[in-house]
């Protein structure tokens, strides 16, 4: 059963941060831009000041090329000295509550042996570039612990990251993907990345190389921006939001017509990933902007299964519906279409549906190389731990879950890093809340 509610109200839309939720506010940013520190114009301090004072964005990142590239024998790749200076300038110009400046680097190459470009923000140092080593790049990003984004992911040229091949070990390395870069739409790449298995969020950016940081109008007359849902406008909060994929990609026109598009599933927001028992979930899509909305779409596993036509044109719309989820992974994301043609996309909410009958299982089973341990979550759990045993009861590995309601990854190796032999293995899962400890048992199989 679907329930649809349209709420029309006066849009008290503020230029700058938009508020649609008590927990998070949407801050608007441009996460991809350059200056003369690589192949753009002007200097970082000028660029940040322009983005803040002229374009009026809340967050501006400068992501200078770091790939050893050159034009006519002259290197355009950022030097280590310039990068440290960029970080210093970004820290200096950042004013909590008003503006956040991010120092970044655009790594990788789109040359014939390259894998594409990846933006990394606020890494302590520069990537020791090896433009053909995609896995090495993922590994380096994981080591830095910084948010990262696929840039202009075009499958028709050397910017497709091995056709977005999914590496479970590096899932946490990548946080966002550009749906829009300047004038080009990469929605198909966004859907393909999700289908491949990546847990990436939506982003739209300008890739500025000229003096138009934050308000570059593309060839369609729109300004791409990324909405970042954070509790405060501080650098740590913004970085946390990026790594949590709590983002909205949008194109706006005019500049003041910024879009708030927030998706929640069972009160969990875009970018989140959690386990729940199979059954009915409550989905809410909230949209507000400076101009009217025409339609909202809910994508289920990348397919627009549900559409909400806005009958009475309104700049503020709330759509609630219910969906049944069964066993397995399902992900939802929302898309909004305004009457003037502007669009916005949310990051997805990923849900792993489990059955109460099998409280602990692995996906896949049998396991070849990597599996996720999924389980029936304990309400209000604060920690989760999986202990894997072989048939004889010998302890193979103990893994602490990073989040109490997210799957636990197991690479099929024991505590000493050796691949385990084929056979049946047992999982003892321990979940703790403030008042309860729940132990569940499961069985899986390794066959390779």
């Amino acid at each position: 059963m679907k329930m649809m509610i349209q709420t029309t109200a006066l849009c008290l839309f503020l230029l700058g941060a938009g508020k649609i939720n008590a927990e998070y506010k949407c801050f608007y940013g441009n996460l991809h831009a350059h200056t003369s520190y690589s192949d753009g114009e002007s200097t970082p301090d000028t660029a940040f000041a322009y983005a803040r004072d002229v374009a009026g964005v809340d967050i501006q990142a400068l992501t200078e090329h770091n790939n050893g590239g050159s034009f006519s024998g002259v290197s355009y790749s950022i030097t280590p000295e310039h990068y440290q200076n960029l970080r210093l300038i970004a820290d200096t110009i950042t004013a909590p509550g008003r503006f956040v400046a991010l120092a970044g680097q655009e790594v990788g190459s789109i040359g014939s042996s390259g894998f594409g470009h990846i933006n990394v923000w606020e890494a302590p140092g520069l990537w020791p570039y090896n433009n053909s080593d995609l896995l090495g790049c993922y590994s380096w990003i994981l080591d830095q612990g910084c948010p990262a984004m696929y840039c202009h992911p075009d499958s028709s040229w050397n910017s497709n990251f091995n056709d977005l091949y999914y590496y479970q070990d590096y899932d946490r390395a990548m946080d966002l993907i550009e749906i829009i870069n300047s004038s080009t739409l990469y929605e198909d790449a966004y859907l393909r990345a999700l289908e491949r298995g990546w847990h990436v969020g939506a982003s739209a950016n300008q890739d500025n190389h000229r003096r138009d940081w934050g308000n570059r109008v593309n060839s369609y007359g729109n300004i791409p921006l990324t909405g970042i849902w954070a509790d405060t406008l501080t650098k740590p909060a913004v970085l946390e939001a990026l790594q949590s994929r709590r983002t909205t990609a949008m194109e706006v026109s005019p500049a003041s017509d910024r879009i708030n598009l927030l998706l929640s599933v069972d009160d969990r927001y875009q970018g989140e990933h959690f386990i729940r028992q199979e059954g009915t979930v409550k989905i809410m899509i909230q949209a507000s902007a400076g101009s009217d909305f025409a339609s909202l779409y809910l994508y289920t596993n990348g397919i627009p299964e549900d559409t909400f036509k806005v009958v009475q044109a309104s700049p503020m719309v709330t759509w609630e519906l219910e969906k049944n989820i069964g066993l397995g992974t399902v992900y939802y994301h929302a898309k909004a279409l305004q009457s003037d043609g502007d669009r916005a996309w949310t990051s997805p909410v990923h849900i792993d549906g489990v059955s109460e009958k099998n409280p602990v299982v692995t996906w896949p089973t049998p396991i070849k190389n990597y599996a996720r341990i999924v389980f029936t979550p304990l309400p209000a759990a604060v920690s989760v731990k999986a202990v894997i045993y072989d048939l004889s009861g010998k302890l193979v590995k103990e893994i602490i879950g990073s989040q109490p309601d997210q799957p636990i990854g197991w690479n099929g190796k024991d505590a000493k890093g050796r691949q385990v032999l084929n056979g049946v293995y047992f999982i003892r899962l321990e979940q703790k809340s403030a008042t309860e400890t729940r132990v569940s048992l499961g069985k899986t199989m390794v066959s390779r």
Binding site: G197, L327, G328, T329, D352, G353, V354, N358, V361, T362, W363, P364, T365, P366, V374, Y389, D390, L391, S392, G393, K394, L395, R418, Q419, L421, N422, G423, V424, F426, R428, V439, L441, K443, T444, M445, S447, R448
Partner: protein, 294 residues
């Protein structure tokens, strides 16, 4: 008269070993459940004697034994063994084992159900032991195992060699267990066998109404650990058994195993034994064994 037990440890050979599950080491009999590795020395029942080939030569009657074990999580095992004295040449043994590893729900990477998966393991053992000078037992076991999975199988083989000295109510044994090539043979992912070096003594007291053994085992990954076993006869045909063995790698396994046995039933010297051990949250295991000599 008190008997003094002198324990002399064998020199343990250093060898690179890795702890990996070997199906032929999984306990299937009641005494294996109670005594753990201590069964190698303590057992005097057919189902246990076949574990230590050096004791085979002391079996002077044809014996048959069968055991079943309930593991946890819908896993069940069973074994059947026979020992046949070959006149003055010694005693041969033959054993078969089977493990039903139960069912596992199959899933794709994104959690779509793929039906039910089943797997089994089977073991085959051949042993031979002989006695020299009425006191020294020497024996050899050859063991093979095959694990069947839905889309493939793994197999491997191993051997045990053992020496026993038995005089009166006192006996001692040295054993090298699980000696063989990397396991499994037909998989790129294979490891050296977890070879064990075992030494211990067993003594009887009060005309055999009480017996006990002390044994020390070394496996590289588990380190060294002792096995202590005790058996007593409150009644002529009833024995109570207790084993103590604490292996750090088996953190959830209770160090104590408990069991009982009804012996010398009927004219065919029938025995029925039961063993129990807890594995904490994982569950409990219990086994039932029957043996007959004729």
């Amino acid at each position: 008269m008190k008997k003094i037990i002198i324990i002399s440890w064998a020199v343990m050979l250093a060898q690179t070993v890795q702890a990996q599950l070997l199906y032929w080491d999984m306990p299937t009999t009641a005494e294996q459940v109670v005594f753990g590795e201590g069964c190698l020395l303590q057992s005097r029942e057919p189902q246990g004697l076949l574990q230590n080939p050096s004791s085979l030569g002391f079996i002077k009657y044809r014996t048959l034994s069968a055991s079943g074990i309930q593991w946890w999580q819908e896993v069940y095992g069973g074994s059947a063994s026979a020992a046949l004295p070959v006149r003055r040449y010694g005693t041969a043994s033959f054993s078969l084992g089977y493990w039903s590893l139960g069912t596992v729900s199959g899933y794709t990477e994104d959690g779509q159900p793929m039906g039910t998966l089943q797997s089994q393991a089977s073991n085959l053992g051949l042993g031979y032991g002989l006695v020299m000078a009425d006191a020294w037992g020497l024996g050899l076991n050859l063991k093979a195992s095959r694990l069947n999975l839905p889309d493939r199988y793994d197999w491997g083989w191993s051997s045990d060699i053992a020496l026993m000295y038995k005089r009166g109510l006192l006996s001692g044994s040295l054993m090298v267990k699980d000696l063989g090539p990397d396991y499994p043979r037909n998989n790129d992912i294979r490891y050296p066998q977890n070879t064990a070096y075992v030494a211990g003594v067993r003594a009887e007291y009060l005309a055999g109404k009480v017996s006990g053994s002390v044994q020390y085992n070394i496996r590289k990954e588990e380190g060294g650990y002792p096995s202590l076993s005790l058996e007593s006869y409150p009644l002529t045909s009833l024995s109570l058994k207790i084993g103590y063995e604490k292996i750090p790698e088996l953190a959830d396994r209770s160090p104590l195993g408990l069991g009982m046995e009804l012996k010398k039933l009927g004219r065919r010297d029938l025995s029925v034994a039961y063993g129990y051990r807890s594995y904490g949250d994982l569950g409990n295991i219990q086994a039932l064994s029957m043996g007959i000599s004729f």
